[in-house]
């Protein structure tokens, strides 16, 4: 599956285990962001989401004006401040699928051989439906950092507080980098700031969540392992 504009960069020295790296490109600027592995919901929204989004994006553009493939590709790229860079083949394939599903109709080729598409009533309704639906973030049930914390708690492999510290340090560093990028951004590029703010608020929410988990840990009577009789290793500093 190809991912336009949002390049997956696997294997770039993971700070924490198995992060997903993405490069968000806006015009001449790029931001390497590692979408924390716990954000499995980012994968549908940023990975599959981009592919799904081509269909919805084209449909919305067609609601505004009819158009041919290359023109629609350019319109979509410009609407996203070049954050999305589309493969023309993907645009044509998507337009054909829109037609197959009755959301758009094609007209006979013009003198240059270009096929113009226009939206159907069904397509118009589908675009409105898409706008009306919230984006599904519910896939976050099983995520790595939660698992790691719970495993730390029951296995004694590492102190849960240490797991929190490491995670917090890593996210704080990201938050500092994002903030630096924001303060560097002299001109107001709406799309760029939109992505940056999204990353900043997500990181911030993550830190708040870790803070809350830490409080809950403090309220536990002890970090007593429930799997086997194994006690936490001696090197761990356990604060009752």
């Amino acid at each position: 599956m190809s991912v336009p504009s949002c390049e997956l960069l696997r294997g770039l020295e993971p700070v924490i285990s198995a992060p997903i790296w993405v490069r968000v490109v806006v015009g001449k600027k790029s931001l390497d962001a590692h979408i924390l592995s716990m954000y499995y919901w980012y994968i549908p929204s940023m990975y599959g989401g981009f592919v799904v989004g081509i269909k919805e994006g084209l449909l919305c553009l067609l609601v505004k004006n009819e158009g041919h493939g290359y023109q629609l590709k350019q319109d979509l790229e410009s609407a996203t401040s070049d954050t999305w860079q589309l493969n023309i083949g993907q645009v044509y394939t998507t337009l054909q699928r829109l037609e197959r599903d009755g959301l758009a109709t094609s007209h006979s080729p013009d003198a240059d051989g270009r096929v113009t598409y226009s939206v159907t009533d069904h397509g118009r309704a589908a675009a409105r439906d898409w706008m009306a639906q919230p984006v599904d973030l519910a896939a976050a049930g099983r995520d790595e950092i939660s698992l790691k914390l719970l495993m730390a708690l029951v296995s004694g492999v590492e102190h849960p507080r240490r797991v929190i510290e490491v995670q917090r340090g890593s996210i704080m560093g990201l938050l500092q980098d994002y903030t630096a990028l924001k303060s560097d951004n002299a001109h107001d590029d709406f799309a760029w700031l939109l992505y940056l703010d999204r990353l900043i608020f997500s990181a911030e929410a993550e830190l708040r969540w870790l803070e809350r988990v830490e409080s809950r840990l403090d309220d536990l009577p002890a970090f007593s392992p429930t799997v086997g009789e194994k006690q936490p290793a001696e090197s761990m500093e356990v604060t009752p």
């Binding site: 001449k28 600027k29 790029s30 931001l31 390497d32 510290e165 917090r168 340090g169 890593s170 704080m172 560093g173 938050l175 500092q176 980098d177 994002y178 903030t179 630096a180 990028l181 303060s183 560097d184 951004n185 002299a186 900043i200 990181a203 911030e204 830190l207 708040r208 803070e211 604060t239």
Partner: protein, 239 residues
């Protein structure tokens, strides 16, 4: 190598004795270089404000030492400490702490005049400092004629006037809305980029994130430090 402008060595603070003994701060080492913004973060009671107060000679450490501008605070007399507070370090608090009966410029020039500076020169420095926080036209306004954000800008101008180059800020955005808070942090950041140094106490991660280094305290100890990358990936591409 650049000398730190503020240096804390094995700094400790203990309140009470025996069963009542509380270790507010335990052996903290921290250097602040010119041009650097360092954030101190942690929960309530983790020792953030204690650290800041000792950095600014408002409180004495139980153990360890604080060196400001090459002077070991422990070796200074009361008068000399008072001078450090007037001349070397500037404070910004959550409550802006401006004197209501003085204008913006007078609030800034007063500590300089108290230190023996000629009023005309103090006024000139105050105006320059107000310019730097983009309040050039408001020198003769009284605090109650300024918004909260503007008052905090005056406090920052006062904190970094003339010879002062270390700003100690304790939750400086606590009383401000989010957009104004961001503009205050941007200002502190830009003053540091221009060569000042600042120690910022905050419990808000998004505000701490403006710093070069974020030091997290827990129960009076440094739990972790996170450092900003020197070259965010976009900076090289900015035209």
């Amino acid at each position: 190598m650049t000398e730190p402008i503020l240096s804390m060595r094995r700094l400790g603070k203990t309140h009470g004795v025996g069963a009542q003994r509380v270790d507010a701060l335990v052996s903290v080492d921290l250097d602040l270089l010119p041009g650097e913004l360092v954030a101190i973060t942690g929960r309530s009671g983790s020792g953030k404000t204690t650290l800041l107060n000792m950095a600014g000679a408002l409180d004495e450490p139980t153990t360890g030492e604080v060196i400001v501008d090459g002077q070991n605070l422990a070796t200074l007399s009361k008068q000399e400490l008072a001078r450090v507070r007037r001349v070397s370090v500037g404070y910004v608090f959550q409550q802006f702490n401006l004197l209501p009966s003085l204008t913006a410029a007078e609030n800034i020039s007063l500590p300089l005049e108290l230190d023996g500076m000629k009023p005309a020169l103090a006024r000139e420095l105050a105006e320059k400092s107000l310019d730097e926080v983009e309040l050039g036209g408001m020198a003769d306004r009284y605090p109650d004629q300024l918004s909260g954000g503007e008052q905090q800008r005056v406090a920052i101008a006062r904190g970094l006037v003339g010879p002062r180059s270390v700003l100690l800020a304790d939750e400086p955005t606590g009383a401000l809305d989010e957009a104004t808070s961001e503009s205050i942090l941007k200002l502190i950041r830009s003053r540091c980029d221009a060569g000042a140094a600042a120690l910022l106490v905050t419990h808000e991660p998004a505000y701490a994130a403006w710093a070069d280094r974020v030091v997290r305290l827990r129960d009076g100890r440094v739990e972790g430090i996170s450092v900003r990358s020197k070259t965010p990936s976009s900076t090289a591409d900015l035209s």
